[in-house]
């Protein structure tokens, strides 16, 4: 039998003016289990807390109920007071007599009656309370960053700066990501490579950062503070430790017809290659689909010429397993596939290009060495038409329902750069809305219109067709209420962006929640925007939602701050109000695991004694208390009633219901 103490707070006159606190304290004494009851002006004060502590010691109380303000206000205070005299803090319940009674009711009789019911309800609950202990879990002081684009690079640099080791896992042969492909960046028009490559070098030189390029995440186990991750290092057929990046192999390789992904397939490359001149690590990789030696066994020229002896055709995928305290997901994006949009003729006309392809066509390190030539015949385009919102804001099923956010700005950038470099070029932009919120963004767009005479047409393109070598762009001009046809030399599609498809697999491995558009969900859209609902997993860059470089970098740094905050702790305290399964009742149906948003529930095969020396192996649910956040979704889903939530058990809530309904 519990020995319960009840403490009714006056809260000055806040409660006492409307609730007869003395009467409540008196009447409650008659409740079964209550051995002590008192009232005091300010329970939360030093003296009030002392009163509670003394009573706990003197009467050997096993549970206490405080009738005071909202538990959201002072529950922690009273729990601490109880703990200081040896009473488990989870044996404290608060009846909310201020926000729920005295402040909203005027009639003293009515308010006192309600106060009595609320205190009785709290007593009913505390009778069933059990001492709970906060768990502790160790923190591995190492972080993992998945994705080596600007988001991953920034997060890794910031975490390393604070002194913690970081691994960057990048699926491509080099870090740098999409930003490395860009020509100039808005709104300042500084060269993308000039601001990115120094950061890539910093990563390579930082001894706290380990870059695992050409690698992928294979398996993730564990939980916040203690993840165990298996990483597949794909066979690159070149020994990273030996290759010096001299590129002799690239000049000798006879298989030259591979499509250069870095240049958006606008150029060819050799089977053995370094993706681009500033690649980090500056180490070659062999494309096994293209290499003659790997495909036919005949060739081996690169091995012959490699002075460092780095080429190894027998290399296999290898695996490494490492422990991490926190994981940053920064997997980035790709432009969507345009095959569903045949009205723009992307598949049929070489001179209809995506904006990312245009970036390469304008880039000094690109296929045309920075001279804008159209892909079909390598001539200067004189009339260029841009089409915005290609696949964005599209609910027809072909595209994406969201706004890709960056297209308005980069289209303005492209238009401006072209008009600047080739003033004899005519530039048209079809737009639905121009969305340029951001510092110096709208000014930038207006400059394109006012200073560079870019022709912005409010309307949309219905079709693009080829007529005598000209691309006829037929669209509407809504402001003039006209249908117009612009004979163009080059058509640029501001293609919608989507999360890099591999993020889906990573989300599954991390049990991080993901939406229907493959964007990872944040823990709270406003107040916890860089944290995944899965504890210890953080989100940076476009994997969480469309964003430009400044936003991506801010989010990456915010992630780093969160990671550093986590890694700075030696041990994590875990909320003891978590779910647990009664193994004798669990039938292993998996329904609880399906509703768990955190992936806290796994299944184990356990041996049960049946009596008579016989045993039985059954599959039962097991909740990881370090991962469980204590929402209780599983408790309701469980068809056999095996799942329960500590601190809010079914019995406790049932008894609260009973106490309230009792007349």
């Amino acid at each position: 039998m519990q020995k319960i103490g009840v403490f009714i707070c006056w809260c000055g006159s806040n409660i006492a003016a409307t609730v007869d606190v003395v009467r409540v304290a008196e009447e409650i004494k008659r409740e079964p289990g209550v051995v002590y009851s008192a009232d005091y002006q300010y329970m939360c004060s030093e003296n009030g807390q002392q009163l509670i502590k003394n009573a706990i010691k003197e009467y050997g109380l096993t549970g206490i109920v405080i009738g005071s303000c909202s538990p959201r206000m002072h529950e922690a205070t009273f729990r601490k007071a109880a703990e200081s005299v040896g009473l488990n803090p989870y044996m404290v319940e608060v009846a909310n007599l201020r926000e729920q009674v005295s402040w909203i009711h005027k009639d003293k009789e009515e308010a006192t009656e309600k106060a009595l019911i609320l205190v009785r309800t709290a007593i009913a609950k505390v009778r069933l309370n059990a001492p709970l202990k906060e768990g502790e879990s160790p923190v591995v002081k190492r972080a993992l960053v998945i994705g080596g684009g600007i988001a991953g690079i920034q997060a890794a640099l910031d975490i390393a700066e604070a002194g913690y080791p970081v691994d960057i896992v990048e699926k491509n042969a080099t870090i740098g990501g999409r930003m490395a492909q860009l020509d100039k960046t808005f709104p300042t028009l500084d060269c993308s490579a000039c601001i990115l490559t120094p950061k890539m070098v910093d990563c390579a030189q930082n001894e706290k950062i380990d870059i695992l390029s050409y690698s992928e995440i294979e398996e993730v186990k564990g939980y916040v503070g203690n993840f165990s991750v298996k990483i597949r290092k794909k066979a690159r057929y070149v020994d990273e430790t030996k290759c010096t990046g001299c590129k002799i192999c690239m000049t000798k390789c006879p298989s030259k017809k591979g499509l250069d992904e870095f240049n958006m397939n606008l150029k060819t490359r050799t089977a053995i290659h370094i993706p681009f001149a500033q690649a980090i690590p500056n180490v070659a990789v062999i494309d096994p689909e293209q290499c003659l030696k790997l495909k036919t066994g005949k060739c081996g020229i690169c091995q012959k010429f490699c002075g460092a002896g780095a080429i190894d055709y027998t290399m296999k995928d290898s695996f490494i397993e490492r422990q991490y305290g926190a994981i940053v997901v920064a997997t980035g994006f790709k432009p969507i596939d345009l095959t569903a949009f045949n009205e723009y003729g992307y598949a049929d006309n070489k001179d209809v290009v995506t904006s990312l392809e245009l970036e390469r066509l304008m880039n000094a390190a690109g296929p045309t060495n920075g001279v804008l030539l159209r892909p079909s015949d390598m001539t200067h385009p004189k009339v260029i038409t841009f089409i915005q919102c290609v696949g964005s804001r599209d609910v027809s099923g072909c595209g994406k329902p969201y706004c890709s956010k960056i297209c308005c700005m980069y289209t303005a950038k492209h238009a401006m750069l072209i008009r600047e470099k080739y003033p004899d070029t005519e530039v048209h932009v079809f737009y639905i809305d121009v969305r340029t919120p951001g510092k110096n963004y709208d000014e930038f767009y207006r400059r394109a219109v006012e200073q560079y005479n870019v022709d912005y047409i409010k309307g949309m393109v219905g079709k693009v067709y080829n007529e005598n070598g000209k691309l006829m762009v037929q669209g509407s001009d809504l402001l003039n209420n006209e249908q117009i046809v612009i004979p163009s030399d080059l058509v640029v599609l501001a293609t919608a962006i989507e999360p890099e498809p591999s993020v889906r697999k990573i989300a599954t491995l991390l049990t991080a929640s993901i939406d229907t558009n493959n964007f990872l969900n944040e823990s709270h859209p406003k107040l916890r925007p860089v944290e995944s609902p899965t504890a210890g997993v953080y989100l940076a860059g476009v994997c969480q939602g469309p964003k430009d470089i400044p936003e991506t970098v801010s989010q990456a740094s915010a992630c780093a701050a969160k990671v550093i905050g986590l890694l700075a702790k030696d041990k994590l305290k875990t909320n003891p109000c978590v779910a647990s399964s009664n193994e004798m009742m669990c039938n292993g149906c998996s329904q609880c695991a399906n509703v768990c948003a955190y992936g806290a529930i796994t299944y184990v095969d356990k041996e049960f004694r049946l009596g008579g020396g016989k045993t039985e192996i059954r599959r039962v649910a097991s909740v990881n208390p370090a991962v469980c956040q204590g929402c209780g979704a599983c408790t309701v889903t469980c068809p056999s009633g095996a799942m329960d939530l500590s601190g809010f058990s079914s019995k406790q809530i049932m008894s609260e219901v009973e106490a309230i309904c009792k007349k």
Binding site: P525, V657, I660
Partner: protein, 146 residues
């Protein structure tokens, strides 16, 4: 009619800790009154409310049961309130079939900033349940005998 006006229903309100309980606190600190016969049970998330709790409340003589949670998309536990929405629409239509009027059961989304909404919702709910009168359809007669 006099009879109905004198009747004070007993209402059980389940409020999630993160939004609605905080909303109720805000209603309190803004002194926005609602009837005293609404008693709140704090749960971590609206999805912690087992349909059994609702049945228990009616069995024990409650006249109305209301669940309050975070707005869809704002759930502290990501998807908890979606489970609530599905479970309760099923349960409530079943209760309606059993003879417990739809007006006696409700799910409302109240954020931590919506003290005024909390009080409005409670006033409205109590008025509707009061108009219906005592709930006789589903209760344990032994409770009445006490």
């Amino acid at each position: 009619m006099q009879e109905v006006n004198n009747f004070t229903p007993n209402i059980v309100a389940f409020c999630c800790n993160w939004c609605s309980y905080a909303g109720a606190d805000l209603a309190g600190s803004s002194r926005l009154s609602y009837p005293a016969n609404v008693k709140i049970i704090r749960v971590p998330c609206s999805c912690r409310v087992n349909p059994m709790f609702v049945l228990k409340a009616f069995q024990q003589g409650a006249d109305g049961v209301i669940l309050c949670g975070c707005h869809p998309g704002d759930c502290h536990y990501v998807t908890g309130n979606y489970y609530t929405r599905r479970r309760m629409s099923l349960l409530f239509s079943f209760l309606n079939y059993m003879g417990i009027e739809k007006e006696r059961t409700r799910v409302e989304w109240v954020s931590a900033a919506e003290g005024a909404k909390f009080s409005e919702v409670m006033n409205d709910f109590v008025a509707k349940v009061t108009a219906l009168g005592e709930n006789k359809r589903l209760q344990d007669l032994r409770v009445k005998e006490e």
